[in-house]
Symmetry: C2
Subunit: 409 residues, 2 copies
């Protein structure tokens, strides 16, 4: 076997939303091939086609079986790979499309959210060695039973990075509809600037905080297998943002980005007993209903009573409140359950803040300067998050972005 310079590219749904865009992607793929690369292209379903299929299923069965949902949704990517292969062929290049199962993507049999277990690269390597461009359906695989599985949200990113790792590629290019990763949302803060590089840990924090450029699972995979992820736009030729090892980063800023999330609500359990096992009972009851809790704050006990407050996705507020009100508070005792659906989370992320005191203080100073009250605080090694009123979020993001000198010069 000879040595190949393998490049994995991934194009998201908006990049392949119609025939014109598919032809544009074909042109980009061929350009990389002409530069001497062995190219593997991973694609998502066209535009909103996945949503259309979900809607179709909903008309037939309100709770469609997960296995059949995977059977249905997998057709979306299969349409795209066939069309992209046709477009590449029209440019005169040898090409072959492969479904997830054909590309050897073996997954768990947990339909709808399967994790990749292994990739058998035999077929892909054979096609690459014959000089073909290989187009692979993202988001899907096959379980040991021979059934089609899907990987859940962000699955195509995961397919691409996993393929790059399995094929021993060093770089995976993720093409999307934005230029790269920004210091904050440019639609909110026009002064936001594009990051040239960011480390995996920072990207993970930003991704989980609502900067929906890359799915966290793909970032974790990149970190585990040392695959650099180059996030860039399919609509221009600008350099994007490279996600890589933190120690390779030069000119490290204290803070890389300001993230925010307004799908946040707060619940507080007031004057509950201050004794062992109470927290367990509360959060196990929520976990049983698959409700994700984010920041948890416990007050200092007084007269044998404490308050516990926490944040959660606003979309889960109703369900969580009902469980606590109807069941948990009656079981454990306590004065009342209160909620606030008017909060938001503002966070700063940066590997550079590790062992650099004063970063959190500077964030609080910025918020104080705009008279913004902080309701809850949470800190980790590379992140500080504050819960504030959601009506203050735009003002908050702007002032923090400015205080940390992230505004584009």
């Amino acid at each position: 076997m000879f040595s190949m310079d393998i490049l994995v590219q991934k194009y998201g749904g908006t990049s392949v939303a119609n025939p014109e865009r598919i032809k544009n992607v074909a042109q980009r793929v061929v350009t990389a091939k002409n530069e001497g690369k062995s190219v593997v292209v991973v694609v998502s379903a066209m535009g909103d086609s996945t949503d259309d299929l979900i809607e179709l299923a909903a008309q037939i069965n309100g709770e469609p079986p997960a296995r059949e949902m995977d059977m249905l949704l997998a057709t979306g990517e299969q349409v795209t790979i066939a069309l992209l292969a046709m477009a590449i062929k029209a440019l005169g290049h040898d090409v072959v499309s492969l479904t997830g199962p054909q590309a050897g993507i073996l997954t768990e049999s947990f339909h709808g959210k399967a994790r990749i277990l292994d990739i058998n690269t035999k077929r892909v390597m054979k096609e690459l060695e014959e000089g073909k461009i290989v187009v692979v359906a993202g988001f899907q695989g096959v379980c040991r039973e021979g059934d089609i599985t899907t990987l859940g949200r962000g699955g195509s990113d995961t397919t691409a990075v996993a393929l790059a790792a399995a094929l021993k590629g060093n770089v995976c290019e993720i093409y999307t509809d934005v230029d790269g990763v920004y210091t904050t949302n440019p639609r909110l803060v026009p002064e936001a600037s594009k990051l040239k590089a960011i480390c995996y840990e920072e990207m993970l924090e930003l991704a989980s905080l609502g900067a929906q450029v890359l799915h966290p699972r793909s970032v974790e995979l990149g970190k585990s297998y040392g695959v650099e992820i180059h996030v860039r736009s399919s609509f221009n030729y600008n350099e994007g943002t490279v996600v890589k090892e933190g120690n390779q980063l030069e000119n490290k800023e204290l803070v890389s980005g300001v993230a925010y999330d307004i799908n946040v609500a707060k619940i507080a359990l007031i004057e509950i007993p201050d004794k062992p096992g109470i927290s367990f009972k509360i959060f196990q009851a929520l976990a049983d209903e698959s409700i994700d809790v984010d920041i948890i704050v416990q007050s200092i006990g007084r007269d044998g009573r404490i308050d516990i407050s926490f944040t959660l996705p606003r979309t889960d507020l109703r369900r969580a409140f009902d469980i606590l009100q109807e069941k948990v508070i009656k079981q454990i005792g306590g004065k009342e359950v209160v909620f606030d659906d008017g909060v938001a989370k503002l966070s700063i992320v940066g590997a550079g803040m590790v062992s650099r005191p004063g970063v959190a203080a500077k964030m609080f100073e910025a918020l104080a300067a705009e008279d913004i009250n902080i309701e809850m605080i949470s800190t980790s090694e590379i992140k500080v998050s504050c819960i504030i009123k959601d009506t203050d979020i735009e003002k908050g993001v702007k002032v923090v972005h400015k205080y940390f000198s992230l505004d584009n010069k």
Copy 2:
């Protein structure tokens, strides 16, 4: 392994064109299951979805590679099997959908027109033995190389009959948008009556003559493996038409049906040399261009010259005429090439006419009674065809239908 009463049902594109109709099909399938049958359901793509995919491909590549076209089109049936499985599950029955490859349908690798080589029924049998209803994607299979293939026009009928044969089922029900096979087109002749039974040979003649109820390949398969094919409507519960062995038929009529085809043109080569090898040169030149010739008539030679005329699909007339005019006639010599694109073919079909003289004469008598001129005649064991003016076809079908006492009483 215990004995099972296996029933294969097939539902065409119009029967599954939208969610409502898919639910209706689910209801029918469940009814058969509740009657104690082990049910395998084969389905086509929804309504016009295959045409939509072809149109999408055309926007990207005027000559899409056949392998990628198969990859694209196979998604149509995959959508239907997932949705139908969801609909059956909603009715409370265990069900599993299988793509052609998953159902073990092994084909040639001749993309777009692959023939079934073998069916590995292991997976289907396993699911049936677990009591599940099995929904299989028609029209598709997998070749030895592991690529997805499609079976070409009428492929879902072929899948269904082949599965019935492989599973040792005795009957295959083909659900369509008509009640069964009629003595002629009921839209043209309101007096047309539905046939209770018809033999494979008659069905083959009717199918190839434009009665597009069943694809000829599925009829051939049924004949080879002794699978009775029950053609019926998915929109009512009427008994349809059973296609089976001729010797099982009672009350055999002389003529079973009157078929016609207006996609017909006639070409004549005038005063060409009357010597060996001339016919070969003419028809090989047409075969090289994949032009199907139907009826051929050669005049009696005079002065070392003959005329040869033949019919062909009207859609191929232009190409055929150009080949003969520009190449063939110059090569073999002859006076001229003339054509007529205003003809049609009218045929009577019936296994009962074997060794019963006078059937053809009665057809000619019927046509003469309406003053219809016959331009060409072709006969086989169970068929008589006449080429007449296409403007006479409606009148011709009606009078022949009446003369053979086929009008519904």
